[in-house]
């Protein structure tokens, strides 16, 4: 699949602090790329470089194979984490302004604004000032302002922060719809809830470095460590069976709210899942058997906790290019 944007060995330093260290990444056409990392990891700095707001100190960024330049910004949509609207402007005027800034002609801008307002059932709010509409409504306006010009690359920095669940779902659906239409999306977050359901590919940034990168399912598979779960509607005695089976270890026992008791085993090369299944079936009325694949959340916590202290300080600063 062709690459929409590529970062090659990108570095950025603010004063003494190196906030991006030799970062490589590539976003394929029509995919959703998750950029994960704790607060202060350097995600926003990286995103600002990708969206032409600042330039890297060294390394290269390519947009569709060409070195990134300012005119490429017109082909991108960017929703920053810290975002706002002009309170005294009407919804329609505001959207028209952003559409024109993104290079649309007045005619196209008007058509696009109308399309999106209709799409989100907001036509009756078009003439209202932003200060007169609800926060949820303003969030939708915010999202629309980034996609009015049909960007080829949409960069969303913490897109769900501050969104209520209803609007978050709505935006999630829109993101998937845009992806299906061929838009590539970079999706930065430090919250994992939506990553698994949305992203095709992810990278974890920590202390300015990329510490993990790959397809979401590949990464999860890679982190699967031969842990299996078996479940019953009653407690089961294991000691005797376990010693007979030899090299399998019971690592946890969980009582679920539905009455199910789930036991987690670490298997090994000499003790296959098939052997565990046979053993488990002999223990009683087996209702659950599955491999435990770690969630992105677990992988993230695991990866980040292996490295040193998080970068201190929450001041976001831009540096002269």
């Amino acid at each position: 699949m062709s690459k929409v944007i590529e970062a090659i060995n990108v570095c950025k330093t603010f004063g003494e602090q190196r906030v991006s260290k030799n970062i490589d990444l590539a976003v394929s056409q029509g995919s959703i790329y998750g950029l994960l990392g704790p607060n202060g990891a350097g995600k926003t700095t990286l995103i600002r470089m990708l969206s032409t707001i600042t330039q890297p100190d060294s390394g290269e960024i390519l947009f569709k194979g060409e070195p990134l330049k300012e005119s490429h910004a017109q082909l991108m949509g960017y929703m920053p984490e810290e975002r706002g609207l002009y309170k005294k402007m009407t919804v329609a005027d505001q959207l028209l302004f952003f559409a024109e800034l993104r290079g649309l002609s007045i005619k196209d801008a008007k058509a696009s604004v109308k399309h999106w307002l209709q799409r989100l059932d907001m036509m009756e709010w078009a003439r209202k000032k932003v200060e007169e509409i609800s926060k949820g409504m303003a969030q939708k306006v915010q999202f629309v302002s980034c996609v009015l010009h049909n960007p080829q690359l949409l960069i969303l920095d913490e897109p769900f922060s501050g969104f209520d669940p209803v609007n978050a779902d709505l935006i999630k659906d829109l993101i998937i719809e845009l992806k299906n239409q061929g838009t590539s999306i970079i999706f930065s977050t430090h919250r994992m809830d939506n990553v698994e359901s949305l992203c095709d590919h992810l990278a974890i940034i920590h202390q300015g470095e990329k510490v993990l990168d790959g397809g979401v399912s590949d990464i999860r598979r890679k982190y699967a460590k031969g842990i299996y779960e078996v479940g019953y509607y009653q407690s089961v005695e294991w000691d005797a069976g376990m010693s007979a089976a030899g090299e399998s270890t019971l690592i946890s026992e969980q009582q679920h709210s539905d009455g199910k008791v789930v036991y987690r085993f670490q298997t090994s090369e000499s003790f296959t899942p098939e052997q565990l299944l046979k053993l488990a079936m002999g223990k009683g009325n087996l209702v659950h058997f599955s491999e435990h694949v770690p969630s992105i959340h677990e992988i993230f916590v695991d990866t980040v906790s292996k490295t040193a202290e998080p970068i201190a300080g929450a001041t976001i600063a831009a540096e002269p290019s």
């Binding site: 402007m89 800034l101 290079g103 980034c146």
Partner: protein, 463 residues
């Protein structure tokens, strides 16, 4: 370029469509006229102390002070011979004060003392001194055998007319007062405009930063374009306001003229000339206050019927000098220096707005920016009006931070083209440099949140 225009359009339209702007455009001239009228009224009508004061007087020249003509609001009584009781009466408030003159020789009165329980104002002190001096002078004349009527007839009067000799050998009527008035009014407008609209640019930059709109914008617009679009958009708002005032003032004056015309008297030649001059130059609009008053005075006096002779004299006095003013130069200088000065200062204001996180952080940066402006205004009021062709006036009309104000004051007095060109050239160069420097602060400032910025930060951003 296109983005500068998009930003310009937004800045302009949101402001011009704003109800406050529309109301203020109509209200501001009225408020200004009201403000001046109130100031003049207060200064002339209520400034004086109008209490009637009873004052003891004692002097060594009989009937020098205890005359038939005491100063206004004073009742004079002979002081008791005992100075202690005189002082005690003053202290207890039985009399307002005690005025004592012990000189026998009235050529130099240097022993006059005024005892009061409250410190007299400067005005009161001066008027008493002047009154004593007059009395002493009259006494001196009387000693020479002159009566009061004779003294008055000896006083000569004099008036001085000023005429300008132009290069073509023509001699024209000139009016320093008129030129000073016009120059000062124009300088005052530039001063106010830079402050009002400069702050508007600053608040606009701050709004975008604090509302976090700016990051979305700079992802598609260069910070320099954003800043320029903003500065030019706000300038256009100001110019719109000016044009509205000019139209308003001209409309008002023509409306009033029409009213008078309908009352019977045809337009006189003088009025035709007067109206012609004003229509040609737009002088009325430039100062909705004094300009209109002057021109209205001229027109109304031309009606001749129930106008006072004073108004007619005033019109006559100003008509010729008005037609002799270098209008084109004044207007050109005003517009060029006005635009140049505004652009220079508003780029500073934009940089400040981008650097700070909240209104309260503004003060520390405002002072050094507004100081040269205030200084320029002080120079304009003092040096430039007294000696428009003096070395100081020339110097400050060259320095770009003060030239927008000082040069405009000098303009009506006629400034050589070479000086104008040099000063304007310097202004443009400085403006270009400052816009460039400010844009460097701006592009980093707008994305820097967190701690309160310091001068050191700004310097770091500049480099």
């Amino acid at each position: 370029m296109k983005n500068i225009f998009v930003i310009f359009k937004r800045e302009y339209l949101t402001r011009v469509k704003n109800k406050t702007f529309i109301i203020m455009t109509f209200l501001a001239p009225l408020l200004m006229v009201g403000f001046y009228a109130a100031t003049i009224y207060i200064a002339t009508e209520t400034g004086d102390d109008d209490r009637t004061k009873t004052v003891y007087v004692s002097d060594n020249n009989p009937e020098l002070l205890l005359s038939h003509n005491p100063p206004a609001n004073y009742v004079l009584l002979p002081a008791p011979s005992d100075s202690d009781s005189a002082l005690a009466h003053v202290e207890r408030g039985l009399v307002h004060g005690w005025l004592s003159v012990e000189d026998r020789d009235l050529r130099v009165v240097d022993s006059a003392t005024y005892y009061t329980s409250e410190t007299p104002s400067i005005t009161e002190k001066e008027s008493l001194k002047e009154w004593i001096r007059n009395k002493a002078t009259q006494r001196q004349f009387a000693r020479l055998g002159l009566r009061e009527g004779q003294i008055d007839s000896l006083q000569s009067s004099c008036s001085l007319e000023t005429k300008e000799v132009t290069g073509q050998g023509d001699v024209k009527e000139s009016s320093s007062g008129l030129k000073s008035g016009i120059g000062f009014a124009l300088a005052f407008m530039i001063y106010i405009f830079i402050f009002v609209y400069g702050s508007m640019v600053m608040r606009s930059a701050m709004e975008e930063k604090t509302n976090r709109i700016v990051e979305v914008i700079v992802s598609s617009v260069k910070p320099f374009d954003l800043m320029m679009g903003k500065i030019l958009g706000v300038a256009a708002v100001g110019l719109t306001q000016f044009v509205a005032w000019i139209v308003l003032a001209v409309g008002l004056v023509f409306g009033i003229s029409a009213l008078f015309l309908n009352s019977g008297n045809g337009m006189t030649t003088q009025q035709a000339v007067q109206t012609g001059i004003e229509a040609r130059t737009g002088m009325r609009g430039m100062d909705a206050g004094s300009g209109t008053a002057v021109s209205m005075g001229g027109e109304m006096s031309a009606q001749g019927s129930d106008m006072t002779s004073g108004a007619r004299d005033m019109a006559a006095e100003f008509t010729e000098p008005l037609s002799n003013l270098p209008y084109f130069q004044i207007l050109a200088v005003f517009l060029l220096f006005f635009v140049g000065g505004y652009l220079l200062y508003s780029s500073f204001f934009a940089a400040i707005g981008s650097a700070v996180n909240q209104e309260s952080d503004v003060q520390q940066f405002m002072m050094p920016v507004t100081l040269p402006l205030v200084f320029g205004f002080v120079i304009a009021q003092t040096v430039a009006l007294k000696a428009p062709h003096g070395a100081m006036a020339k110097l400050f009309s060259m320095i770009p931070l003060t030239s927008p104000i000082v040069m405009v004051v000098r303009a009506p007095f006629g400034v050589p083209f070479s000086e104008l060109a040099l000063s304007f050239g310097l202004l443009v160069l400085t403006f270009v440099l400052m816009v460039w420097l400010s844009s460097r602060i701006y592009r980093i400032g707008i994305l820097s949140y967190g701690k309160k910025p310091t001068w050191k930060d700004l310097w770091k951003w500049l480099r």
